[in-house]
Symmetry: C2
């Protein structure tokens, strides 16, 4: 039997983010994107979520290369973590590698990783795979799609994309090449489903420039603009409009400064001579000559805009009349944080212009009609919707059907589920280990479901520690019970409750001893059970109760 092509998504299906797709053929594996995700609301204390790559670790000798579609965190963010476990050359475009380099430098992994700069049109051989870089449009410069070839056939992997006929820099997505591949015959396509629920077309990045122009024209106040740091084209547009109206530009916020540096070094932005000023020097300029570009579009606590609003920024304090432009939409979950900043800006009499007001932000993902164009050009035999939750995958499947793909040729996969392809068939196969690995501080994977369950429990009702000292010889009570609580109630106002709890613990202990029970686990369990019942009856709460017995 001929070798099959296995496609194994380790992230990005039934979730947003954490994109990582494995292509395996015989003795060769290539990886497309190594992204991170953000924790859910109830994953307390987790900083970052990365894919479980134990399958890749097990087969690390087969890995021929890591290919990156673009430089967003949900496509490159897990690199520093997984590169501790295996290594392979990284192939990506200049802008993407610029951002990867920053990241690897920070994690001291730069020296041990081979980075290969590619550009649209390049074809990289990696074992029996060859990977062609195809120019795409997205909300970050230098994004690409891939045509992944192996003896089984050609797979088009779109990555995140939109079709922008008037991008700020560069050209429209390479529809021609996709059409050629379609004509030659494409076995399967994996395509971005993020915006599949939106009808029509995503507006061009250029539309935002027109909105900026209206907001800058005739404005006599200081202008502060916040947007995504990685959207270099957006930043270019802000600089262009500032130049047009004679404003100097100052940049604040670490990720914005980093992104600007990379983009400028690599030639992705064109900065008019003398327009940039140090944020420390803006005080000497008249208000109507200042434009500040800042981080904080997602309401991040401690971002530059947050500090500007709440008057804790060293160089910039919000002033009445300031025009603050929020050129971003809030990612689900961040609405309250963004709102919090907006309210503070209003309180200080700034003028806030946010997305309600017009085309201040456009998406980087293709809407339904753009997806249809791609389906019509690529005409894949098999279709695998990716980058989306179940609602997006299912909706994208319906769009594919409308475009002529038979339902039986559409595979809705899942993380860890192998998709097996032959030249004539595509089907779901077995599973590989997969899931979410939590990063908390320096720890990768040492926080798991038990720890998170405990954190949720602690968060909900706090905890009570009850300590007794028992004689090692006689088992008799020497000291205690002492009770310590945190996150439960104001102890000062609940002294009588604490006294009652001590009584309950003591009674449970006495009851055990009078029945001759000397086993500590049983005594602990009895104390915990009685205290828990008592507390629930009295307060309708379930704090975590930790009994401790000291042998003295």
């Amino acid at each position: 039997m001929a070798e099959k092509l296995k496609i194994i998504p380790l992230g990005g299906l039934n979730e947003i983010g954490k994109n990582l797709t494995v292509y395996e053929y015989g003795n060769d594996i290539i990886i497309v994107d190594v992204g991170m995700g953000f924790p859910d609301d109830d994953m307390y204390g987790v900083d970052v979520v990365i894919p479980d790559v134990s399958y890749l670790i097990k087969h690390k000798d087969k890995i021929r290369g890591i290919f990156l579609t673009h430089g967003h965190e949900d496509h490159i963010g897990a690199l520093p973590y997984v590169l501790r476990s295996f290594n392979a050359p990284i192939y990506a475009t200049r802008m993407t590698l610029g951002l990867v380099r920053l990241k690897l430098e920070e994690h001291k992994l730069l020296d041990t990783t081979k980075l290969v700069t590619c550009e649209a049109g390049d074809i990289i051989q990696a074992g029996k795979f060859s990977v062609e870089f195809i120019h795409a449009n997205h909300s970050i410069a230098d994004a690409v799609s891939f045509a992944v070839k192996c003896p089984v056939g050609v797979v088009v992997h779109t990555g995140d994309f939109k079709i922008d006929p008037t991008p700020i820099k560069g050209k429209i997505m390479d529809l021609t090449r996709l059409g050629q591949l379609g004509k030659e015959g494409v076995l399967a396509m994996l395509a971005d489903s993020t915006n599949v629920e939106r009808p029509g077309h995503t507006r061009s990045e250029r539309a935002v420039g027109a909105s900026f122009d209206e907001l800058f024209k005739g404005c006599k106040e200081r202008i502060i603009v916040t947007t995504f740091a990685s959207n270099v084209d957006r930043i270019q547009q802000i600089i262009n409009v500032a130049a047009r109206y004679g404003r100097k530009v100052a940049v604040t916020g670490r990720s914005m400064e980093n992104s600007m540096r990379v983009a400028t070094e690599l030639g992705y932005t064109e900065i008019p001579q003398g327009i940039l000023v140090d944020i420390n020097h803006i005080k000497s300029l008249p208000r109507e000559k200042i434009c500040i570009i800042t981080t904080g579009s997602q309401g991040e606590a401690m971002s530059a805009l947050f500090r500007i609003a709440f008057s804790t920024h060293k160089q910039v304090d919000i002033q009445a009349g300031d025009r603050v432009i929020i050129s971003a939409s809030a990612i689900p979950g961040n609405e309250n944080a963004v709102n919090n900043i907006i309210n503070e800006l209003y309180r200080k009499k700034a003028e806030v212009v946010s997305e309600n007001a017009g085309a201040l932000h456009v998406s980087g993902h293709a809407c339904q009609d753009e997806l249809k164009i791609i389906h019509a050009l690529v005409r894949p035999k098999f279709f695998i919707p990716v980058h989306g939750e179940q609602r997006h995958l299912q909706t994208h499947a319906r769009v594919a059907q409308e475009m002529g793909t038979p339902p039986e040729n559409i595979i809705i996969g899942d993380v860890g589920r192998i998709i097996e392809l032959t030249p004539h068939s595509a089907q779901l196969g077995g599973t590989v280990p997969s899931g979410r690995v939590f990063v908390d501080g320096y720890g990768v994977g040492d926080v798991g479901s038990v720890v998170l369950r405990d954190r949720r429990h602690l968060a909900q009702d706090g905890m009570i520690v009850v300590v007794v000292s028992l004689s090692g010889e006689t088992g008799e009570l020497v000291s205690g019970p002492d009770i310590i609580t945190r996150g439960f109630v104001y102890v000062k106002e609940s002294e009588s409750l604490m006294e009652e709890l001590r009584e309950v613990a003591l009674e449970a202990l006495d009851a055990c001893q009078s029945r001759g029970i000397g086993d500590w686990a049983t005594i602990k369990s009895a104390m915990k059970g009685e205290m828990s019942r008592y507390l629930y009856k009295k307060t309708k709460r379930n704090p975590m109760i930790l009994p401790v017995i000291m042998e003295v």
Copy 2:
């Protein structure tokens, strides 16, 4: 000096919800609305937030009545809590009192509270105040505005409202009466600011009926509709369209059942004979003859729709093809929960129709042009925007200016800040105790900022208890240090870390003793400090560390 009218908002300004306004004149106080709010994301374990009413408790002898504009939780939800501290007759319309009655019954407060049924047009005397009930439109039946009169003048208090020329039941808001009052002279107006950022007019409730009709017409599948339980007019429309297309209606979810019962008993809904069926009996009906109305429009865990989607509902299990209509928009903060249900419905091949698809939900709050109508009719001398965050209050102030109110006659207040009115002036005065009281289980107010801070700390990094037994005579170590952790790391995989921690604690203890320090507070602080530093260096985390010393 003549007596002033004091208006004291104890909730509803710079926040959404928890509406409560105090009107005080001489020896008389009346209260308008007694609402609850929901906790912020980081108020772990808090069920409900209510206004601090210590000012009212202090002056309870002055309270002449509680007046309710309508029956939503953010206007009546705190009643059961505050009625434990003071009592006064409650004046409200029939529907509002129906919902209040349910609530008081549950809290065993019904017998001790005087409820007075009023209707639009009624004027209630309460001390030197008289309060006129004025018919308003809103997303719940029987909403009213008030004209509050006292010797200082007339204050119009709109409550939540919209102007609906084609409501499902009853008439358009009583603009005539508001206009009359305006002609006679209104001293001040407090008006709803919720939707002030939206231009134009809110659509009529009737628009939703047309959308339902299209979704029911010709549908051969089972239809499941979720909406807000309190929106009786919406439910009436669902029943109407079900009747039109020959479907039986079953209701599931406790709050939906309660709301239906109250509305039906009081005659707010008209249920065609024989259309309602028990949810237990729907299995005997053909799919195209069923319409299920359910709770869960906000994604609430354990709501009926949640259980239907996740196959834990006793009577209804989602089936492929089911058409699920979500007739509500997600309240900020609930997006992820709603999304979670939608994904599960898609996974089970149901068809989900949500607000993206058309007029499946309309707001109950006036947009900018409706607010302008009210300003134009009432023409208050002084204007006080209420029911909104700072962004809404400021924007409403600008709208009032556009409508001719001079800026110096617009008061942006705050919770707890007294607004003092004479016939010729309005100004901010002093403050009264105010703020948010947290309800957690049976506890009202026993969870405060310290407890919440501890819960956040515990949630973030978990905790470590370190226990030592010291001899009461010599101060020498008898037993320990024992270390217990929860929510920090998998202990099994971190045994060496635990061993190191024990060492660090022991060294700190030894260091104290060798320096002759016998004071327990100092010893605890030393152990905590050393362990904390060690852990942060090693893991970049800051778990809560609780040192316990037992004297034996």
